[in-house]
Amino acid sequence: MISKPDPSTAGLSLGGDAAVAGGLPARGDSILSRAVRDKRLLSIASVLFVIALWQWGAGHVSGFLLPPPAEVLSRFLDPKWLSRLLGALGQSLIQLGLGFGLTLLIAVPLGVLIGRSVILTRMFEPVINAIYAIPPVAFIPFLIVWFGLFLEARVALVFLMSVFDVLVIVIAGARDVRSALVDVGRSFGASHQQRLRLIVLPALLPFFFAALRVGSARAINGMITAELFFAAVNLGAIMKRATQNFDSATVLSVVLLICVLGLIAQSGIAWLERRVLHWHVRSA
């Protein structure tokens, strides 16, 4: 059986206790000991240190292949380049939205349906685990045969790369809704529909957010994979052309953009989760 993407592992949560540790009063000692106590400062120092090391290495070590960070950053922040990059990203987001939207539309109801029925779970969980074990990229030759090389194929790949992750998490959630809660509802005379709407769905919300976190990371992965493997367009085309010209600063600026997109998606979902699920305490 394939190990489930555990909601807490797959959390990719950012800066959890930095906020807790950050509130300590500084007692006016050296920056270093303050940094050790203030974890957020330490994180920033770690990032700055590596960037400084990289900048130094790019200038001093011969044969160092990475372009200096200053060059990558100035490339990234050059307004003309950035607007081109964001324009390409906007196009890429179309297939991301369509593909991931399709995933949520199909995988969430299907997952609840399968997870709530013991028989359906027993029947289809092994099947889903087996298909989930196939690397989605391996379906690319098929997608080319069925959908060609353009938008349809890209949407299909985003869908395929995210749908099983979401499905597996939603099934696990729907199956594990505490039966005691449902029994209480039943003993208070709640109808089947009421139990589903008032007990099962709220209990499922934490899993829904876990699915959203994992699924969106996979969907972004699918978005960029599709642009590199089908006809190269948008961000994929920029990367491919830059690779041919050995322009690593440009390639890195695209990687940076994708990284920032991923971080924004993760923290956006985490923010939404805190707003919606203020009653639910996430373990660990």
């Binding site: 394939i2 190990s3 489930k4 993407p5 555990d6 807490s8 592992t9 797959a10 959390g11 950012l14 206790d17 540790a21 050790v36 974890k39 957020r40 330490l42 994180s43 770690s46 990032v47 590596v50 292949l65 028989i119 027993r122 029947m123 289809f124 969980e125 092994p126 099947v127 087996a130 298909i131 074990a133 196939i134 690397p135 989605p136 990229v137 391996a138 379906f139 030759p141 098929f142 080319i144 045969v145 972004i220 992965n221 960029i224 590199l228 493997f229 990367m239 830059a242 690779t243 050995f246 690593s248 390639v251 990687v255 994708i258 990284c259 991923g262 971080l263 998606a265 993760q266 660990a284």
Partner: protein, 254 residues
Amino acid sequence: MKATLQRLALPALGFASLLLVWEIAGRIAGPALFAPPSSVAVDYVGLLRQGDMLRELSSSLRQMAVGFIAACVVGMPLGAVMGRSAVADAIFRPWVSMFVVTSTAALIPLFILFLGTGLMLRVTIVFLASVWYITLTTYNGARGISPQQIAVARSFSASPLQIFWKVTLPALYPYLLTGARIGIVHAIRAMVLAEMFVIIGYGALMHRSGLSLDTGQLLGLLITLMLVSLFFNWLLGATGRWLAPWYDQQRVTA
């Protein structure tokens, strides 16, 4: 008896209905679009006889193993240290968070510039795709170790090294295995991704059968990948149950 029958019968029914739908869809679509299972079975025997598939698979898997083992060697200690030390957590967390959201596919063009398209590229991509998941799983395990256990060990005057060997490591054990299981899924995905990008090894076989519209062969190659992935998962799970039967892995995974 009845329970066993039910446990086996329902999944069998699930697979049977999948095969049935696939057969019907395959008959309608035709072998150029979607070969039905009956003809995939015939093609599969051919693939096994021809020998290309297993040869490429074993060489691809050996390369993947290098990257995956490197990822375990780096990720497991890193995750353990991050989970047990707030300072290490603060230092490494931004990097782990950044790398784990960055798509592996986006890194391939970059690493082709640095490493070319040879063995090092594939090993590096497999490493980068799996190491962060292994780190994060170990990290979650290390953070979850109950402080009482460590306090008990300390009050029996165990040294930090003894605490690590006798308390932390055994408590981490199921998480290490779960991390390895999640990691191997990502490692196999990355292997296929890198091979299909530079068109080499097993990925090249799939690419070629896709180009020649031989969906029977393509599906056969996919099924082999699926079996390999399921086998490794089973192997890691079985190893865990054999080495430490007192841990219920389901509790860690679910």
